[in-house]
Symmetry: C2
Subunit: 434 residues, 2 copies
């Protein structure tokens, strides 16, 4: 039924627009589309670019094979001439974008696609799906790692989101500083460290808690994490140390008043001589809960639901808009800016360049968008944000995931201090259209 | 890198639990896991079962092939004995569940998995990912189709969610009564009708609106839907009817005060003699916006973001809990109920049967859960809710998607009238543990 091609992860109207534009001839006009968000989610201070690496793979696999064409034909989506055009589809244009991990603000052109209208319009849905999802998770993840202030965060939200979205979410979280994930496919596909030990079911399976702990330690070693809240926490902690000894790696708390429990369990562990045993907490954590545990003796946070659902904002509101197109059907016709005029949705036509402007101390102070000029010179105190991702149809923007992760850390550090306040506020940088 | 197997769409800890249980011998204890939600999302009246069909495919493809085993080995997730066990993995147990489309309530055992602990525990993450996502979308979709009161709803949220989640979302929406989707893969994979015509980019591509409309009508026929809010709506409607004639299929409004605009555009269309031309509205609609347009001359609703993000509740909070397991390692050991004792998370141990109880008028009045008895007789005025999905490892629960769609309509109709009130309230049926 299915194929590996990404070509049908697309809205029907991309292909009917293509059909109509092929017929009118306008399909071949050189066009520029920009991906941007009109606003950040309410109260958020910055966005995070994520999904770029996945997007490059998806563009490469955007091919209309026989099975795909047969479906489009039989379903009557488009006619013969369009099917023939699609059979030869290969994106030959250019894509620039904010490098993965980079912070962004309202209006930032996260991705710029230049090509014929035909070849660029059909990528809309796929580009937005990938970036809207991954950026939403990465933005939430960044607030969480920032709130965790150096303590490791473990991504464990797979069960709360679509099974493939889970893999992408683990990737996005890693970019924003998560230390590891529970998702094994993310480990296989992206090389992200995976972690996991046991659930309540494992304790309940055995005749008592001691037997369960002994079974786990026998299999996984004393340096494992024992889950201590199936019955009574204090009893479980005592049993855990008796079974595993002072080398017990960690105990996990998954319910109750974590602030109170963490202090009690820490004191109990120390008293039992297990001073090196860590405390891992999990239990519907979000960035606020993580922050509230800052003064508690917690060594790691496991985060699930709130991470994979973007902590209240499961999508990033990115849109894909035609901002310029050739003035006519002539091959070398110059580009003209275009923009929808409807009320309530401001648009800025024309291809833009994007730079981040810094103050004398190297702190970012503005996102500056200006009309693109090929011959623009770099300006001191500004950093160019758009990097080439695809040139002449060739993917040039691939990089290791670790590069995106390192970039996000740098990009967040450059922002004004209020960027990492959790309280609701305005975007931490103003967007200036010059 | 990847394979078609679903085996790694799983949390790391499922496999470490397996490893430890294989070593302790407890892995072979017969076990019963139930999938249920402790509560509905705040204010919601009912849940909708969705994802079952996808789940059956996923269970069938849950296989540890060489590539998968090599990854697990090299990453050090589990040791040799466990790898050997996984190489032969095939689920041989039983699965019962609420039939797809059925409404559910807090505690309803949506899925019951019976098998050895080993074979059942490893399915946890995958089962929850699929059901949590699909049920969240289906629940939102059901409120929307109910608010639309018979007018067709078109799913067009692909761009706002992960690219594969989008396909599953289209499927879930269709179960809950959506008429069609924009997602072409959902059309190919599930046979859901797909719809789409054009976006603002198509108008902006052309030299003016008239040229764009003419190009679209030339390619797609007069019975197409023209998007009339790129510049000025009244001008666009006039141009649309001039270009397409009285046979114009529909106009689409994607911004502005839809209530006001729909009335104005309807009047204008009628005045222009295009009395049969329909009005389609799209623009961040949710169930409340749909309901508020009930008195407006709107013919169809296109719904995107709010649908695929569960209208505020992007995940269904379903959990997978061990509720019973064999008393000992003996092959015929009887089952004993088990449940976690932590505060704040009530659990009801033991395998349960689930029936819906009706009043004399055939209106549902309660969700009744009672300890499972193989010899239980049907009770008049009650309907058994658990149907067999997998028996002895064999998939027996496959059905056409249309069956799930028809079932949801019936299941919703049987509920008390207040089920489809949009205002926040309690679950419309009480859950009674007998």
């Amino acid at each position: 039924m299915d194929t590996a091609t990404t070509a049908l992860l697309t809205d029907h109207y991309e292909l009917t627009m293509l059909e109509a534009a092929l017929r009118s001839g306008a399909a071949h006009r050189r066009s520029v589309f920009e991906v941007f968000a009109r606003r950040l989610p309410d109260g958020r201070r910055y966005g995070v670019t994520a999904g770029t690496g996945r997007l490059l793979d998806a563009i490469e696999n955007f091919r209309f094979d026989d099975e795909t064409l047969t479906f489009l034909d039989e379903a009557g989506v488009v006619g013969r001439a369009t099917l023939d055009w699609l059979a030869g589809y290969r994106f030959t244009g250019n894509v620039w974008g904010y490098a993965e991990g980079e912070c962004w603000f309202p209006g930032s052109p996260l991705v710029v696609v230049e090509g014929s209208f035909a070849e660029a319009v059909v990528l809309e849905t796929l580009i937005l799906s990938i970036l809207n999802h991954d950026a939403a998770v990465a933005a939430a993840a960044s607030r969480m790692t920032s709130a965790a202030a150096g303590r490791p965060c473990i991504e464990m939200g797979s069960r709360r989101t679509h099974e493939e979205a889970a893999v992408a979410a683990a990737r996005a979280a890693y970019i924003s500083g998560f230390a590891s994930t529970s998702n094994l496919r993310a480990g296989q596909r992206y090389g992200i460290p995976t972690r996991g030990t046991s659930a309540h079911a494992f304790t309940l399976l055995h005749d008592d808690e001691r037997e369960a702990f002994a079974a786990q330690v026998a299999a996984l070693g004393a340096d494992t994490t024992l889950l201590v809240d199936t019955y009574d926490v204090a009893t479980a902690v005592r049993t855990a140390v008796e079974v595993a000894g002072h080398e017990l790696g960690a105990v996990r708390l998954d319910s109750g008043d974590l602030l109170l429990l963490a202090h009690r369990v820490r004191a109990q562990l120390d008293e039992l001589g297990a001073a090196k045993t860590r405390i891992v907490v999990t239990s519907d954590l979000d960035e606020y809960a993580i922050a509230s545990l800052r003064a508690a003796p917690v060594d790691a946070y496991g985060v699930g639901t709130q991470l994979v659902t973007g902590s209240g904002h499961p999508t990033a509101s990115l849109v894909y808009k035609l901002v310029a197109r050739a003035m006519s059907d002539e091959p070398d016709a110059p580009l003209v800016p275009v923009a929808k005029k409807s009320p309530g949705k401001p648009s800025h036509g024309g291809r833009k360049s994007a730079v981040r402007r810094y103050d004398a101390d190297g702190v970012a102070e503005a996102e500056v968008l200006r009309p693109f000029r090929a011959d623009a010179e770099p300006v001191p105190g500004e950093r160019e944000l758009l990097v080439p991702l695809v040139l002449g149809g060739k993917i040039v923007g691939r990089e290791p995931l670790s590069a995106a992760r390192a970039r996000h850390e740098r990009s967040r550090e450059e922002l004004p201090l209020s960027a990492t306040q959790l309280s609701r506020g305005e975007p931490v940088l103003p967007t200036i259209y010059e």
